[in-house]
């Protein structure tokens, strides 16, 4: 049994393998980029706006309000990163309704790449907001005794992000595969419907956790300024 779409290899040369994960990831990226370009080519401000623009505005505004609720007062700065994470994971998980599709998020390499980008984005936004000194000081909170634990936490939460998304999506696909071999009539469809729900919930959780981590790096400075 295949554990992940990494095992389906289309083309291989030396240690470079073009596998199903890479192909579907680039396909999704192409669809998202072309779709966003087509929608934003002619944006209108009047009363009559196109359907696709309405959908895009809804998505952007809801992500913005979610980011604001976590406590960051300038959500526009973080929307490109967090919104991309949410949309990519969400679309990658929702496309399981197409037959023969395997979600790239069911491969540990994709989820690790996403988690590493969160791992790099946290100090990026933290330094941008509070300066290098201000960011490094967050590792000494609440006392300097916590420094090793803060450092360990930084790495383990990245690992947790990657393994959580991978495990959820991989288990969904694997349960459907097992059910297809023992009860191939209706049950796989029900599990696929459940898979759609968990896919969206996992996309939400991944982006909310990324927001919370970024907010933790950004806000530590701000709360000190207030007092």
């Amino acid at each position: 049994m295949k554990l992940s779409p990494d095992d389906t290899i289309f083309w291989s040369n030396g240690f470079i393998n073009i596998n199903l994960t890479i192909v579907t990831t680039w396909g999704l990226m192409l669809v998202m980029v072309i779709g966003a370009w087509l929608i934003t080519r002619k944006l209108q401000t009047g009363i009559k706006i196109s359907r696709w623009q309405t959908i895009l505005e809804m998505i952007v505004l809801s992500i913005s309000s979610q980011v604001k609720e976590v406590g960051m007062d300038k959500p526009r700065r973080y929307i490109p990163f967090i919104g991309t994470l949410f949309l990519f994971i969400g679309i990658a998980n929702l496309c399981i309704i197409f037959p023969g599709y395997e979600p790239p998020t069911g491969s540990l390499s994709t989820t690790t790449a996403l988690a590493i980008s969160v791992f790099l984005a946290v100090p990026f936004f933290g330094i941008e907001e509070g300066g290098l000194r201000g960011y490094l000081k967050t590792y000494l909170e609440p006392t300097w005794l916590m420094l090793p634990f803060n450092l360990i936490g930084e790495f383990t939460r990245t690992l947790a992000l990657a393994v959580r998304l991978f495990g959820n999506i991989m288990s969904g696909g694997m349960i459907v595969a097992i059910l297809l071999s023992i009860a191939p009539f209706i049950f796989p469809v029900l599990m696929d419907v459940l898979g759609l729900l968990t896919g969206i919930v996992q996309a939400y959780i991944f982006s909310v956790l990324a927001t919370v981590y970024i907010a933790g790096a950004v806000q530590a400075r701000k709360s000190k300024q207030k007092t």
């Binding site: 554990l3 609720e69 991978f166 495990g167 939400y204």
Partner: protein, 89 residues
């Protein structure tokens, strides 16, 4: 019994135990978390968005322990390092 059989038996039993125990305890704690979140939602409906978001994040944290157990049992069954070692030898 040769080594391969022993490794197979141990892997399968351990995988079953890992998933069984490892989903039981997170299920209990998730139920507790949801119950207390529901009661606080009933007390303060105004704070519903904050409570719901915190609940989701907490549930994700709790659930990741169950997911770890699942991943470990999958590794034991499908990608057992000891098994591969014995086969290669």
């Amino acid at each position: 019994m040769d080594n391969i059989t022993i490794i197979g038996i141990a892997s399968i039993i351990t995988a079953g135990l890992t998933t069984g125990i490892g989903t039981m305890l997170p299920a209990l704690s998730e139920g507790k978390a949801i119950a207390s979140a529901l009661s606080s939602l009933a007390q303060q409906p105004d704070a519903s968005s904050t409570i719901t978001r915190t609940l989701f994040v907490g549930l994700a944290m709790i659930e990741s322990t169950a997911i770890y157990c699942f991943v470990v049992s999958m590794i034991l069954i499908f990608a057992n390092p000891f098994w591969n070692f014995i086969i290669a030898k």
